[in-house]
């Protein structure tokens, strides 16, 4: 066992504060990112609840909710080997008028309604799909009913001035700001063309499945290269793109960065202080080694190794704690997305912070002089 690790284990109470600080930083970063990812998952819900492999939209679509109308005639461009029959997908913001007259933003999502349609959200039951075939009917998420001023099935409101009726309530289609209103392609065309006449012969997206989903990225690249005025994404790409866009656009990423930086700073200061104090507590032993001619760099190495182990132990303890706190948050109704990339990133950042703290603590070694043992 290394001298550094042996010291850490023997004097664990002394190093506990440093380990705790690293643990705190790592958990803070991982949970913050997890909560934000959870929050911004809501922006890609239409993509995540579809079974399409390819999403085709207008040029430079940044996020699924920001698609612009494209001519339905583009459908012929998808006539390629390996790409299955495309389907129409409408998605656009609308103005929702509540039964009490108030207004709210909403997002109209019009899809094919048979079980075989790639765009049909998987949370819709066969009954919902059947009910939605009736013109000007909608399905919304339970959590959005209050925003829409609706109390339940049968209530009516207006989208872009057209009266619609709520025929079903689902869970899993929660929105960030503008409630998703699921409807048929016909309903969508009707309510959207009222404010944007293009929707008479345009759609927002063309969706398609691939014979071999593994080939979707290659097919998306081919189509995008062939038709620069179209955006072509795989479902995974579009989902990530949508989340990232809102994460960056809302500056939530900046807020996260600041909070994470503060967490790291607190962790670094406490860890540096712990290592500094631990080194000074062994100052006489180190001074004896220096008197014997042991190079000072060996002691620097020991302190750096200690900072490494403090970081590693802290990160290792953080891992189960992140999962525990994540599931607690989920039970409380939050959504925490714990991804290995985030865990790895949080671990790398806190390890780096711990090593930085070690570098700061090296100051203590510089002050150690063997002559002090003779005074």
């Amino acid at each position: 066992m290394s001298y550094a690790l042996q010291t850490l284990i023997h004097e664990r109470s002394r190093y506990a504060a440093g380990v705790g600080a690293v643990l705190f930083s790592a958990v803070l970063i991982a949970l913050q990112v997890g909560l934000l990812l959870g929050l911004f998952e809501l922006t890609s819900i239409p993509v995540d609840h579809s079974t399409a492999d390819l999403w085709v939209g207008g040029s430079h679509v940044e996020s699924v909710d920001l698609g612009r109308p494209i001519p339905i005639s583009y459908i012929g461009r998808l006539n390629k080997p390996g790409v299955q029959r495309p389907e129409l997908y409408y998605l656009n913001f609308g103005n929702f008028t509540k039964p009490d007259g108030g207004n709210s933003l909403c997002t109209v999502v019009g899809t094919g309604l048979t079980a075989g349609h790639a765009g049909c959200p998987d949370v819709l039951t066969p009954e919902h799909r059947q009910l939605l075939t009736e013109s000007l009917t909608i399905v919304a998420d339970q959590s959005d009913l209050a925003k829409l001023g609706l109390s339940g099935v049968g209530d009516r409101g207006k989208v872009n001035g057209k009266e619609v009726r709520l025929v079903g309530v689902v869970t899993g289609l929660k929105s960030l700001a503008a409630p998703w209103l699921m409807c048929s392609q016909t309903t969508a065309r009707e309510v959207l063309s009222g404010v944007n006449p293009l929707y008479a012969d345009h759609v927002t997206y063309l969706l398609a499945r691939c014979d071999d989903p593994a080939r979707a990225p290659a097919l998306a690249r081919e189509l995008a290269a062939e038709y620069p005025e179209m955006s072509v994404y795989t479902a995974d790409e579009f989902s990530t793109k949508s989340r990232l866009f809102w994460l960056l656009r809302t500056k939530a990423g900046v807020a996260l960065g600041y909070a994470a930086l503060l967490g790291l700073l607190v962790g670094a200061v406490i860890t540096a202080q712990t290592l500094y104090a631990a080194t000074m507590a062994s100052a006489k032993e180190f001074a004896t080694l220096l008197a014997l001619g042991i190079p000072r760099r060996r002691i620097y190495g020991l302190v750096m190794a200690q900072s490494f182990w403090v970081g590693l132990v802290g990160v290792a303890l953080a891992y189960p704690l992140v999962h525990l706190l994540g599931s607690v948050a989920e039970q409380a109704g939050g959504r925490v997305v714990i991804r290995w990339e985030v865990l790895l990133g949080a671990a790398a950042l806190t390890m780096a912070t711990s090593l930085l703290a070690g570098l700061v603590a090296l100051r203590s070694v510089k002050t150690i002089e063997p002559m002090s043992l003779l005074r």
Binding site: E11, E285, T288, L292, G293, R375
Partner: protein, 244 residues
């Protein structure tokens, strides 16, 4: 006592050192000249504040003198210790100098054997098995063969000081400096420490320089000096008494 060999191993030439400035200026060492020989245990006595530790620090390469030279015999020639660049002086200490302090200064987390091993591994880049073998052999010689696996908290004061002696000797140091090595020990353990140092000098030819104000040490030494007001004088043979 072994006869003084012709070549002194450590020569102190007109060493001077003062502390402070102006009204607070204090002369710790006047012009101190004396020789130490290999194979002998030398004792330096004197009242508190007489400059004993200052002299030990200058001789051992820890504190620079204001004037004079320290010449150490190494590989057939004298090395002017304070004319060496700092890195070379540290390398000289690593090759030749061992220290024993009043406090044992042992790492609480390490076993007795590891306190020695770290010196070999870090100082001489010894392999782990080599460092372990040499450390165990050294501790056997210090009658600590059964204590090698114990940490300082499990050792008595005398045992801890013997581990500290082992740490000073294990790298094969030819010059051993000890500052009040027995002051924290009862006399029985103190005598044992002195016998071990004496044996190191007589059997292995080390140059041992001990600073103390305990006159009970005198019979165990080969030569003794008295330092007072910055002036050094050799004590008479008769004042040493017979080795028990």
């Amino acid at each position: 006592m072994p006869a003084a060999p012709s070549n002194p191993s450590l020569r102190s030439v007109r060493l001077g050192r003062t502390f402070g400035d102006g009204a607070t200026r204090r002369v710790a060492l006047g012009s101190v000249t004396f020789d130490l020989h290999p194979g002998r245990l030398a004792l330096l006595m004197g009242p508190s504040g007489s400059g004993k530790s200052t002299l030990l620090a200058i001789l051992s390469g820890l504190l620079n003198p204001d004037a004079g030279q320290v010449l150490a015999w190494e590989a057939g020639a004298y090395v002017d210790v304070w004319a060496l660049p700092q890195a070379e002086r540290e390398a000289f200490r690593l090759r030749q100098v061992g220290f024993i302090f009043q406090g044992y200064n042992l790492f609480p987390a390490f076993t007795a054997a590891q306190q020695l091993e770290i010196v070999l591994r870090w100082g001489q880049n010894a392999s782990a098995p080599d460092a372990r073998r040499r450390s165990h052999a050294m501790l056997e010689g210090l009658v600590l063969g059964s204590q090698t696996h114990k940490k300082p908290a499990q050792l008595s004061g005398g045992e801890k000081q013997r581990v500290a002696i082992g740490r000073a000797l294990v790298k094969g140091s030819k010059f051993i400096f000890a500052d009040e090595p027995t002051s924290a020990l009862d006399w029985e353990n103190g005598k044992l420490v002195l016998e071990l140092l004496r044996r190191e000098a007589h059997d292995h030819g080390a140059t041992i320089f001990v600073v103390s104000h305990d006159s009970r040490m005198l019979p165990y030494t080969d030569i003794a000096y008295h330092l007072e007001d910055g002036r050094l004088s050799e004590m008479s043979r008769s004042s040493l008494g017979e080795h028990p």
